[in-house]
C-alpha cells in the first residue's frame, strides 16, 4: 500500500509497536482511574434511574408517560430513533470506511462499534418499553404458535423494524467481536490468573498464525460487506415507520435519505463526544489525533448540510404540494406551539455545523466537543419535532392536543444515557478501546515518525511485506517485551 508523505500522519508522536500495546492495554490492565470511577458512578446512577423508570412503567402502565389519545408516541420513539441513529456512525466507520480503505478509521473504529452496539441496546429498550403489554413482545417475531395460522403482519413497518434492528444488532456484535479477537489475544497473552482464563475463552483460541490473519482479513471484509447495506437500510426502515403512514409531516418520501444522513450526522457527533473524552482520559492522543477529529468534523459538516437541505426541501414540498394538511403541518412546526423545538433543531443541526467550514474551529477540541453535544441535542429535537409536532395537530382539529412529558419520561431518557455510559465505561475498562492490531498497521507508513523518516530519506517508506505479517507476531509478545523490528 502506498502512502503519500504529504498525507497527514494518522499516528502522532513516536510510538513503536510496543508502545501501542502498552498504551492501549493500560486502562485494561491497571486499576481504573479516579475519572473512570466518577464517570462510572454517575452512569450507574443513571442506569438505576432507568431501571426504576422502566420498572414503574411496566408495573402501572403507559399512563405513567405523558402520552395521550392524539400523541401516541413521543419521547419513547424519539429516543428510539435517536439511539438507533447514533449507532450508525459506528457501522459506517467500521464497514464503509473499511471497504473504502480509509485507514484513518483504524484507531477509532473499535470505540465507534462499541458505541453502535450500546446505542442499539438502548434503542431496543424503547421498543420494549413503549409496548402496552411488553411481556408479549415476542409476538413481534414470526414464531410458530398454537394459535393456528396466527402470524405477524409483514405489511407493518414495525415488523420491518424488528428485522432491521435485530439484524443490525447481530451483525454489529459479530463484526465487533471478530475485530476484537487479535486484541483480546494480546491482552490474554499479557494477563495472568483468572483474567487470563477469561480472555483466553474470549479470544477463541486466536493463534496469530498467518492463516488466522488471512481468515481474519476475509471475514472482516465479508462482514463489512454485509454491514454496509445495513448502514443505509436500518435507518431507512426506521424512517418507514413514519413515511408509510398517512399523517402529514410523516408521509413523505424524502425520509429514507434524510434519516440516514441524520443518523450518520448524529453518530459522528456521538463518536466525537466519546473520543474527545476518551483520548484524554485514556491518554490516547497519539492515536486519535487532531486529524481524525478534523476528518470527523468534515463528515459532520457534510451530513449536517444534507440534513439542512432535507429540512428546506420538506418545507418547499409542503408548500408546493398544495395539500392543506401538509402545509399546515409544516407551518405548525415552524410557528406552532412547539416552534421552539423546531428552531432548536434548526439551530443545532443546520446552522452550528456550518461553522465547521472554518479550519480553526474544526480543529479546536473545545469547539468540536461543544458542537458534538449540540448536534446530538439537535438530532434529538429533530425526532421530537417529527414525531410530536406531526401527531399533535393532524387532520381533525378537534383532536389537537399538547404533549407534556412526565418525570417518568425524563427518567427513562436520562436513565438510558446512564445505561449507555455504564456499558461504555465497562467496555473501556475491560476491552481494548483502540484496535491495536489495526493501529499497528499504520505505524509503518502513516505515522508521523514514518513520514518524517520518509521525508528525510526523500522517498516513501516501502514495505513489500505488509503490516499483516509484521503484526502477526503479536501473539508472542509478552508484557514488557518487544519484538517489533
Amino acid at each position: 500500500m502506498h502512502e503519500s508523505i504529504i498525507r497527514k500522519p494518522l499516528v502522532t508522536g513516536t510510538p513503536d509497536m510496543h508502545t501501542v500495546t502498552e498504551d492501549v492495554c493500560r486502562p485494561v490492565e491497571n486499576a481504573p482511574s479516579k475519572a473512570w470511577w466518577i464517570g462510572f458512578t454517575l452512569a450507574f446512577a443513571g442506569f438505576i434511574l432507568w431501571l426504576v423508570s422502566f420498572g414503574y412503567t411496566a408495573w402501572v402502565g403507559l399512563g405513567a408517560w405523558g402520552l395521550n389519545k392524539t400523541v401516541g408516541w413521543a419521547w419513547d420513539i424519539t429516543n428510539f430513533v435517536w439511539w438507533v441513529g447514533i449507532g450508525h456512525a459506528g457501522t459506517l466507520i467500521s464497514a464503509v470506511l473499511l471497504l473504502f480503505r480509509q485507514s484513518w478509521r483504524n484507531s477509532i473504529n473499535r470505540s465507534a462499534e462499541a458505541m453502535t452496539i450500546f446505542a442499539v441496546i438502548c434503542a431496543a429498550t424503547y421498543i420494549l418499553a413503549h409496548m402496552g403489554r411488553p411481556w408479549l413482545a415476542y409476538w413481534a417475531f414470526p414464531l410458530p404458535n398454537q394459535f393456528g395460522s396466527l402470524w405477524v403482519n409483514f405489511n407493518s413497518p414495525l415488523i420491518w423494524d424488528v428485522f432491521a434492528i435485530s439484524t443490525y444488532f447481530s451483525v454489529s456484535c459479530l463484526f465487533w467481536f471478530v475485530g476484537l479477537l487479535p486484541d483480546i489475544a494480546t491482552v490474554r497473552d499479557r494477563a495472568t490468573g483468572v483474567r487470563k482464563q477469561v480472555y483466553s475463552a474470549l479470544s477463541l483460541g486466536w493463534t496469530s498464525s498467518a492463516r488466522s490473519w488471512i481468515r481474519f482479513e476475509s471475514i472482516s471484509l465479508i462482514l463489512s460487506g454485509i454491514s454496509t447495506p445495513l448502514v443505509l437500510s436500518v435507518h431507512t426502515i426506521v424512517s418507514f415507520d413514519f413515511a408509510t403512514s398517512v399523517i402529514p409531516g410523516w408521509h413523505t418520501t424524502i425520509f429514507p435519505p434524510y434519516f440516514v444522513a441524520g443518523a450518520i450526522f448524529s453518530g459522528f457527533a456521538m463518536v466525537q463526544t466519546l473520543l474527545l473524552v476518551a483520548r484524554v482520559v485514556l491518554k490516547l492522543e497519539n492515536y486519535i489525533t487532531m486529524y481524525h477529529i478534523e476528518l470527523m468534523n468534515i463528515i459532520i459538516l457534510v451530513t449536517g448540510s444534507i440534513v439542512g437541505v432535507a429540512y428546506l426541501t420538506e418545507l418547499f414540498i409542503a408548500w408546493y404540494s398544495g395539500v392543506e394538511y401538509e402545509q399546515y403541518a409544516f407551518l405548525n412546526r415552524v410557528s406552532g406551539p412547539y416552534w421552539w423545538a423546531y428552531w432548536i433543531m434548526m439551530t443545532c443541526n443546520v446552522i452550528s455545523p456550518q461553522l465547521m467550514w472554518f479550519k480553526k474551529l474544526r480543529t479546536s477540541l473545545v469547539f468540536t466537543f461543544i458542537i458534538s453535544i449540540v448536534v446530538n441535542i439537535g438530532m434529538w429535537f429533530e425526532r421530537f419535532v417529527i414525531i410530536v409536532t406531526s401527531l399533535h395537530r393532524d387532520y381533525l382539529p378537534s383532536s389537537w392536543a399538547m404533549f407534556t412529558p412526565t418525570v417518568v419520561d425524563v427518567g427513562l431518557y436520562v436513565g438510558s444515557i446512564g445505561l449507555f455510559f455504564t456499558l461504555f465505561l465497562l467496555f473501556i475498562r475491560f476491552l481494548p478501546s483502540v484496535a491495536m492490531a489495526e493501529v499497528k498497521l499504520l505505524l509503518k507508513h502513516s505515522s508521523e515518525e514514518a513520514k518524517a523518516k520518509a521525508k528525510k530519506h526523500g522517498h516513501a517508506t516501502h514495505h513489500p511485506v505488509e503490516g499483516n505479517v509484521v503484526i502477526a507476531t503479536t501473539a508472542t509478545i509478552k508484557k514488557g517485551e518487544s519484538n517489533e523490528e
Binding site: T70, G132, V246, P337, Y395, S398, A401, T404
Partner: protein, 1047 residues
C-alpha cells in the same frame, strides 16, 4: 456338537478368586443395605442425599410437574338454572318497558335478570325512541354500592317495622297537635303516586303536598293561568313550526321535554324533510350563554339577561305593529341587521306556523310570550294548551311559603321525596335553619344527601328500575314502568311507605293496578282489565284520543307586564349579569354522582367533571381575565371561586355558571365536583329567577379544566361542509362539492373525463386493490343537520361497550376513552350576514357545528396496515375490527388514524383504586355488557360498530330462518339518538336506508382525499340563513383556546 467347555471370566478377581471376592459373590448386593439406618431414621440425618433418593425425587418431581402441566386449563362451568325462570334464557336479553326519570318511555335490556342498558321505546308518544344522556346513565345508579342498604332511623340502620312504628307514632302526634305534615316533592305526574299521596293526605288531614322544582317553570304555569286561565305548561309542537324564536329556552338540551322537542325540531330539518320539501324550519335564538339549542340555531344573537326582556318587548312591538295591535313606547334594543324587526316580519309571514318560547321563569315575560304567540295564531297549531304537559308542576311561591311555615313552627313533619332543597334552594341556609324547627323529618332519598343528613328517618326509595312506576307526562298519555330486577338493597317504594304510614299497607303493585283499573283504563276505552294490563306492559303506554287543541286569543292588558319587564331589566345594571342554567348532563344536580354523566363533555364547552364561569373572550380581555383563571363570583353575600372559560358566543358583560355541581353529599363521584351556583338564583316576586347581578374578581389562581376538545376552529378544512337552504334548494349538492368534485384524483373514463357512478359520485384513484364487498357491508350515515350534539349517543355507547370512566385528571391529560365523540367547531359569522354582531363583537357572533366522530371503518384502513401483529384487521363485512387479546399496544394504529378515534388503555381501568368508578366494585360491574370484552391495560380499543349487536341480529334472523332486514340491527348510538341523526345498515343492500342516505346529494366523506375509503358518510350542515360561515370551506379562524395540557 460338543458343549462349550470354555470358561469365561469376567475379571481377574474371578480368575484368581480371593476369599473376600468369593464372600462378595454370594451376596445379592455389593454393599450392605443401610436397613438398620433407615429403620432407625438415621439415614435421613445424612447430609448427602443418596444418588437413588435423588433420582427418585427427581423422577417423581419431574413426573408430577409434567402431569400438573398436562392438566387442562380449568374450565369454569356455568351452572345452569335448576329451575329455569320462565323469562330468562342465558345469553338472550329481555326487554321491559319502563319510564325514564324524565318521564318518557324506555325499554330496559336485561341479561340474566340484570338491567344493563336503556334503549328508546320507539312507540312512546313522548320520547319516540329517543333517550337523553341522563336516561342512559341512570342504569349505573342502580348498582351504586354507596347507596343506603336499609332504612335509617335516627341515623342507625333499622328494620322497616321499626321505622314504620316510629313514623306512624310521630305522624299521629303531629296530626293530633294540629301541626302541618308537608310532603315536599318534585313534580309528580305519576297517577299512582299522586293517588298514594292523596290517600296519605286523607289519612292525615293536616298533610299537604308542596311541589318544588329546583329549576322551575312556575312562570309559564302562572302566565298561562293569567292569560288563559289554565295553570299548565302547554305542549309545544316544534314539528309544526316553520319559524322558531327562542329567548333563552334551551329546548333541545334541558327545557321541559328536550327529548320530545328534539324529535319534533329535527323533523323539520333532517335529510328526509330537506329532500322532500327543499325547505327547513328557521330557528332564531336570543340567549346569554351558549346553549346546546343556541348552538343549533340558524341565527343566534347573544343578549344580556337585562336586555332579553326588552328585546322581547321589541319583538312584540314588531309583531303587534304588523297585526295592528297595541304597541308600547319602550326603548328596545336592536341588533346588527335589524334582526328583531326582521324576526317579527318572518314570524308574521308564518302566522300559525311559528313558535316563540322563552326560558325565563318570570311571569311577565311569559305573559308577553303568550301575547306574541296569540297574535301569531300559534295556539292550536304549535302550542297545545288542551293536552298540557305535566312534566313540571313546581310552585315557587308555595316553597317560599313553606320555609316561612317551618320557621313559624307550623310544620310538625316534613317528608322529602325526590328533592334536595338544602342543596338546591337558593337560600339553602335558611331552609336548613327552618328544618331544625320540624320535629319529624323523613326522606325517601337513596342516601344521606345534603337534605336528608340528620333526618330522623331515611326510608330509601327503590331505584326506578326496581320499582313499579307510572307517569302521565302529557295529559292523556299514560306510561307504565315495570321493575326489571328485585330490589338490590333493603329499599321500599316511597309510595308503599306513604301507604303503610297511612295505614293502608297494600302491595304497591296491587295499588297501581287498581289505579289503572279505576281511573286510567276507563279513559282509554273499555276492555278486560287483564288484557289491557298485559297489553300495557308490552307497549309501555296507553293514550286517550286527546282533546283537539283549541286556538286561544289573548285579551289581557299588557301595560303592567311591560313596565315590570322594563323595571326588572334595570335591576342588574352596572354589574356583571350572571345566568345560571341547568346542565345538559348532570341536570339540576341529580346526575352529579353518575361518573358517566360527569365524564360526558358539556355539548358546547366540552368541559367534563366541573362547572366553570363562562364569559365572552372579549369581556375576558377587557377584564384582564384569561382562560382557566380562577375568579371569585360574588352576589348577596355568597361567593364561589371557579375557573373561567372564554366562551365564544357568550354575551358581552355576562357570565354563566351551570347548576347541578358543587354537591357535598352526592356520593363518591359527585362530591366536591365544581361549585354550587344555586345560591345565585334570585327569588323575585316569589319565583325563582335564573339571573343575578354579580361581581367578578380574579383570585390569581389558575385551574386547568378537563376538556375533551381544546381547539375549536376547523381551520377551514373541508371536514365540515355547510350550505344554506337557498343554495341547497338550487343545487342539493351545493355544500358537498368537495366530495363530488375530487375529479383530479378520481378514475377516468375512456374520454378522459371523471368516471362517475349512477349517483354522480366519483371513484377515487386507488393505490390498493379494491376489496371484495360480498354479502353485508356495514356502513353508517350521519346527518349533520339533524345532529344537535346533545351527546346522549356517547353515554349509550359507553354503557353498551363497557367503556371505562377515567376521571378528571386523565381527561385533562387528554385520555378519555369515549369511542364516540362529538366534535364541536365554532366558525365566525361572515360580515354582513345574519347574526353578525359587528366588528367589535366578532367573538360573540359564532356559528357552531356538531360532528359525531367515531371509527370510520375505512375500507382501506391505515390502522390495519401498520399493526405489527394483525390485532386490527378488516372483516369480510367491512368492519374494522380489534382483537384485543392480540394487541400488545404499540399504538401505531392510533397514530396513523387520521380521525384519532382509537383509544388506548393507559392503565387498568377495572379493579384499580385509582379509578374508583363503577368498574372498581363487584356491584358496579353488574352493569357491564356480557357481550363485550372488558379491556385490560395496554391494549387499544375503538368503536366496533356494535359488532355484538350485528351478530345478535344475524343470529336472530337465522333462527327465524329469514334474511336479515334493514333496521334489524341498530347500533347503540343510533338506537336512542333523539334526533335520529345516525343511520346504520348494509351498504350492499340498495334498498337500505343507509344506502339511500349515502347516495344523498348532501353526503360527503370526511378526509376522503387521503384514500382511506371511510365507511361513514356525513350529510352537509344546511343553515336557514343568507350565508353560512363555512359555506365556501373557509371557516373563520376560530377562537383558539389554550391547548397546553396538564403538566
Amino acid at each position: 456338537m460338543d458343549s462349550n467347555n470354555k470358561t469365561y471370566w469376567k475379571g481377574l478377581e474371578e480368575l484368581n478368586p480371593t476369599p473376600e471376592f468369593e464372600a462378595l459373590q454370594k451376596r445379592e448386593f455389593a454393599e450392605d443395605l443401610p436397613i438398620e439406618e433407615i429403620l432407625s431414621g438415621k439415614a435421613n440425618d445424612s447430609s448427602v442425599m443418596p444418588r437413588r433418593d435423588f433420582l427418585k425425587s427427581l423422577g417423581f418431581g419431574v413426573g408430577a410437574v409434567a402431569l400438573a402441566a398436562c392438566n387442562k386449563t380449568p374450565v369454569n362451568k356455568a351452572v345452569p338454572y335448576l329451575i329455569k325462570p320462565e323469562e330468562i334464557t342465558p345469553g338472550i336479553p329481555n326487554y321491559y318497558t319502563s319510564i325514564s326519570k324524565d318521564g318518557y318511555g324506555i325499554l330496559v335490556k336485561t341479561r340474566e335478570g340484570r338491567p344493563i342498558k336503556i334503549e328508546g321505546n320507539t312507540n312512546c308518544p313522548i320520547g319516540q325512541g329517543g333517550v337523553d344522556s341522563a336516561g342512559h346513565a341512570s342504569v349505573i345508579d342502580l348498582y351504586d354500592s354507596t347507596k343506603l342498604k336499609s332504612p335509617l332511623l335516627k341515623g342507625i340502620e333499622s328494620s322497616w317495622e321499626d321505622v314504620d312504628a316510629f313514623v306512624k307514632e310521630q305522624l299521629a302526634k303531629t296530626n293530633a297537635a294540629g301541626k302541618k305534615i308537608v310532603i315536599l316533592t318534585d313534580s309528580i305526574n305519576s297517577p299512582s303516586t299522586n293517588a298514594a299521596i292523596a290517600d296519605f293526605v286523607k289519612a292525615y288531614p293536616t298533610a299537604k303536598q308542596v311541589t318544588y322544582d329546583a329549576v322551575s317553570y312556575s312562570g309559564i304555569i302562572n302566565a298561562n293561568k293569567n292569560s288563559f286561565d289554565k295553570a299548565v305548561i302547554p305542549s309545544y309542537k316544534f314539528d309544526n313550526a316553520s319559524v322558531i324564536v327562542s329567548f333563552g329556552a334551551d329546548f333541545l338540551g334541558t327545557w321541559i321535554s328536550p327529548v320530545e322537542f328534539t324529535r319534533q325540531y329535527v323533523s323539520q330539518r333532517n335529510a328526509k324533510h330537506l329532500k322532500e320539501t327543499k325547505s327547513m324550519s328557521r330557528h332564531i335564538q336570543f340567549e346569554t350563554e351558549m346553549s346546546l339549542t343556541g348552538s343549533n340555531a340558524d341565527v343566534r344573537i347573544p343578549v344580556r339577561p337585562s336586555q332579553s326582556g326588552l328585546a322581547l318587548i321589541g319583538l312584540y312591538n314588531g309583531v303587534a305593529k304588523l297585526a295592528g295591535a297595541q304597541t308600547f313606547n319602550v326603548e328596545t334594543p336592536e341588533f346588527a341587521g335589524n334582526i328583531i324587526s326582521k324576526t317579527a316580519k318572518e314570524l308574521w309571514e308564518n302566522k300559525g306556523k311559528s313558535l316563540v318560547v322563552a326560558g325565563s321563569n318570570d311571569v311577565s315575560t311569559q305573559i308577553l310570550v303568550n301575547a306574541i304567540n296569540a297574535l301569531l295564531g300559534n295556539y292550536g297549531s304549535t302550542i297545545d294548551l288542551d293536552n298540557a304537559s305535566q312534566q313540571y308542576k313546581g310552585n315557587d311561591a308555595e316553597v317560599v311559603e313553606l320555609v316561612n311555615e317551618m320557621n313559624r313552627g307550623e310544620v310538625g313533619a316534613l317528608i322529602v321525596y325526590g328533592v334536595n332543597p338544602v342543596y338546591s334552594y337558593p337560600k339553602a341556609a335558611d331552609f336548613a335553619a327552618a328544618l331544625k324547627k320540624v320535629a319529624l323529618k323523613v326522606s325517601f332519598a337513596e342516601r344521606e344527601d345534603e337534605t336528608a343528613k340528620g333526618f330522623e328517618v331515611i326510608a330509601p326509595d327503590h331505584h326506578s328500575l326496581e320499582a313499579w312506576t307510572d307517569a302521565e307526562p302529557r295529559k292523556g298519555v299514560f306510561l307504565i314502568g315495570q321493575p326489571t330486577i328485585n330490589p338490590i338493597y333493603d329499599t321500599r317504594a316511597a309510595q308503599k311507605s306513604l301507604l303503610v304510614w297511612a295505614n293502608n299497607p297494600v302491595e304497591y303493585l296491587d295499588y297501581v293496578k287498581n289505579v289503572w283499573n279505576t281511573t286510567i283504563f276507563p279513559q282509554v276505552g273499555a276492555g278486560i282489565f287483564q288484557d289491557q294490563w298485559d297489553n300495557l306492559l308490552r307497549t309501555g303506554f296507553v293514550k286517550t284520543a286527546g282533546a283537539v287543541a283549541q286556538p286561544y286569543t289573548f285579551a289581557k292588558d299588557l301595560s303592567t307586564v311591560v313596565s315590570t319587564i322594563t323595571n326588572s331589566s334595570k335591576s342588574v345594571s352596572g354589574k356583571v349579569e350572571l345566568t345560571v342554567f341547568k346542565h345538559t348532563n348532570v341536570g339540576d344536580g341529580r346526575g352529579a354522582n353518575n361518573p358517566l354523566l360527569q365524564e360526558c363533555p358539556d355539548p358546547v364547552s366540552k368541559v367534563t367533571w366541573d362547572n366553570y364561569v363562562a364569559i365572552s373572550p372579549k369581556f375576558g380581555q377587557d377584564q384582564g381575565i384569561a382562560e382557566f383563571d380562577v375568579v371569585k363570583v360574588e352576589a348577596n353575600g355568597y361567593s364561589i371561586e371557579l375557573p373561567v372559560i372564554l366562551q365564544p358566543g357568550q354575551a358581552y358583560g355576562t357570565a354563566s355558571i351551570a347548576l347541578g355541581y358543587g354537591r357535598t353529599a352526592a356520593g363518591k363521584a359527585g362530591n366536591e365536583v365544581g361549585k354550587n351556583a344555586y345560591p345565585f338564583v334570585s327569588i323575585v316576586n316569589g319565583s325563582l329567577q335564573n339571573f343575578n347581578g354579580v361581581s367578578i374578581s380574579k383570585t390569581g389562581d389558575s385551574i386547568e379544566l378537563a376538556r375533551t376538545q381544546t381547539h375549536h376552529s376547523f381551520e377551514g378544512r373541508d371536514i365540515i361542509r355547510e350550505t344554506t337552504i337557498s343554495a341547497y334548494a338550487k343545487d342539493p349538492s351545493s355544500g358537498s362539492h368537495g366530495h363530488h368534485d375530487l375529479a383530479e384524483i378520481s378514475e377516468q373514463d375512456e374520454k378522459g373525463g371523471a368516471k362517475r357512478d349512477k349517483y354522480g359520485n366519483l371513484k377515487l384513484l386507488n393505490l390498493w386493490e379494491d376489496k371484495e364487498k360480498k354479502g353485508h357491508h356495514w356502513g353508517m350515515a350521519i346527518d349533520l343537520n339533524a345532529c344537535t350534539g346533545c351527546g346522549s349517543c356517547i353515554i349509550s355507547c359507553n354503557i353498551e361497550n363497557n367503556v371505562a370512566v377515567v376521571g378528571r385528571d386523565e381527561v385533562r391529560r387528554r385520555r378519555e376513552m369515549h369511542w364516540l365523540r362529538i366534535d364541536r367547531y365554532y366558525s365566525e359569522v361572515a360580515e354582513g350576514t345574519e347574526g353578525y354582531m359587528g366588528k367589535d363583537s366578532k367573538e360573540e357572533s359564532f356559528e357552531v357545528v356538531h360532528q359525531p366522530m367515531l371509527c370510520q371503518h375505512c375500507d382501506h384502513a391505515p390502522c390495519e396496515t401498520v399493526c405489527p401483529v394483525l390485532a386490527t384487521m378488516h372483516s369480510s363485512e367491512g368492519l374494522n375490527q380489534m382483537a384485543y387479546n392480540r394487541c400488545f399496544g404499540t399504538r401505531y394504529c392510533a397514530n396513523n388514524c387520521p380521525y384519532k378515534v382509537r383509544r388506548f388503555n393507559w392503565f387498568n381501568y377495572t379493579d384499580n383504586d385509582k379509578f374508583d368508578y363503577y368498574m372498581n366494585n363487584p356491584m358496579g360491574k353488574l352493569v357491564l355488557n356480557p357481550d363485550v370484552v372488558v379491556r385490560s391495560r395496554g391494549v387499544m380499543e375503538k368503536c366496533s360498530m356494535c359488532v355484538q349487536r350485528i351478530q345478535a341480529g344475524k343470529l336472530q334472523a337465522k333462527m327465524e330462518n329469514r334474511p336479515l332486514k334493514d333496521g334489524d340491527i341498530k347500533t347503540a348510538c343510533q338506537q336512542s339518538c333523539p334526533s335520529n341523526a345516525i343511520v346504520f345498515g348494509d351498504i350492499n343492500d340498495p334498498e337500505s336506508e343507509v344506502s339511500k342516505l349515502l347516495h344523498n346529494e348532501r353526503t360527503y366523506y370526511v378526509l376522503e382525499s387521503i384514500g382511506v375509503q371511510p365507511g361513514i358518510g356525513y350529510m352537509t350542515q344546511v343553515r336557514n340563513k343568507e350565508k353560512a360561515a363555512a359555506e365556501h370551506g373557509h371557516g373563520g379562524h376560530g377562537h383558539e383556546a389554550k391547548e397546553e395540557s396538564h403538566s
